[in-house]
């Protein structure tokens, strides 16, 4: 569903969206001028957060848009769900913490791959995770 030229929303309600999210983000980031390593970082982070949505919240959305922060152009991805929320964000950000039998790397790894990461979550309400990567930095 397009919401403009420099923004787009993708709904996530099954594993099948992993592929579309990765494709969309790969194309957008490449077109914006990110190098192949940064594109891989961004797509991998998006893959982690998309999987978390269908694993823990079963459905949600991803919005991408271009952003401008302190004169730096970048890509911003917002992952939103109305699932159970994350009770303890600090705990969830620790490498190895998992309630889903995973490696517990998705959230801490995403933080390392991106330039910015913000998590807002309310138990019982849902989770919004915003990540950004800028063109200037490497």
């Amino acid at each position: 569903m397009m919401t403009g030229r420099d923004a787009c929303e993708v709904s996530i309600d099954s594993e099948n969206e992993m592929i579309s999210v990765r494709k969309v983000i790969r194309n957008v980031a490449t077109e914006m001028g990110f190098g192949v390593t940064d594109v891989t970082r961004i797509v991998t982070a998006a893959s982690e957060l998309t999987r978390n949505i269908f694993l823990y919240a079963s459905s949600g959305t991803m919005i991408w848009r271009t952003c401008e922060v302190n004169g730096n152009t970048g890509i911003e991805l917002i992952f939103e769900d109305h699932g159970p929320g994350i009770a303890d964000i600090e705990e969830a950000m620790q490498a190895g913490f998992t309630t889903g039998g995973g490696l517990g790397l998705g959230l801490p790894g995403t933080k390392r791959l991106m330039d910015d990461m913000e998590i807002k979550s309310q138990k019982g309400e849902g989770t919004v995770i915003t990540i950004r990567k800028y063109l200037r930095r490497c």
Partner: protein, 124 residues
Amino acid sequence: MIAKNTSVIKIYNTLLVTVPADPDDNTITELQEHVLESMEKCVAKGVILDISMVETLDSFFARTITETIQMVAVMGGDTVIAGMRPSVAITAIQLGLNLGNVRTALNVELALDMVADFRPGGQK
């Protein structure tokens, strides 16, 4: 069942598994089963996982690969991961994936050299 784009061929006593560019979770899970079944069917001694087409290696993919390597080992086989792209290697390490005890090779040819060493008789 195996998704399209995944090929498993036998070279001598080694299985060469070519992982498609952007496999979804089902494809990765099917690939694991397919590799293990082929191990038995082909009486293979080793597996080369060619990931040179793979552009995204996330935590699920990594976990399944690591698991597959352990399962192949239990069946008496050795696995070599071949052809990881530089961008994928950088991302995997920054994500925090522990691929430290996974045998890797720059490409399939070098991987074949490694696996060939394990052949009975040791002939190359």
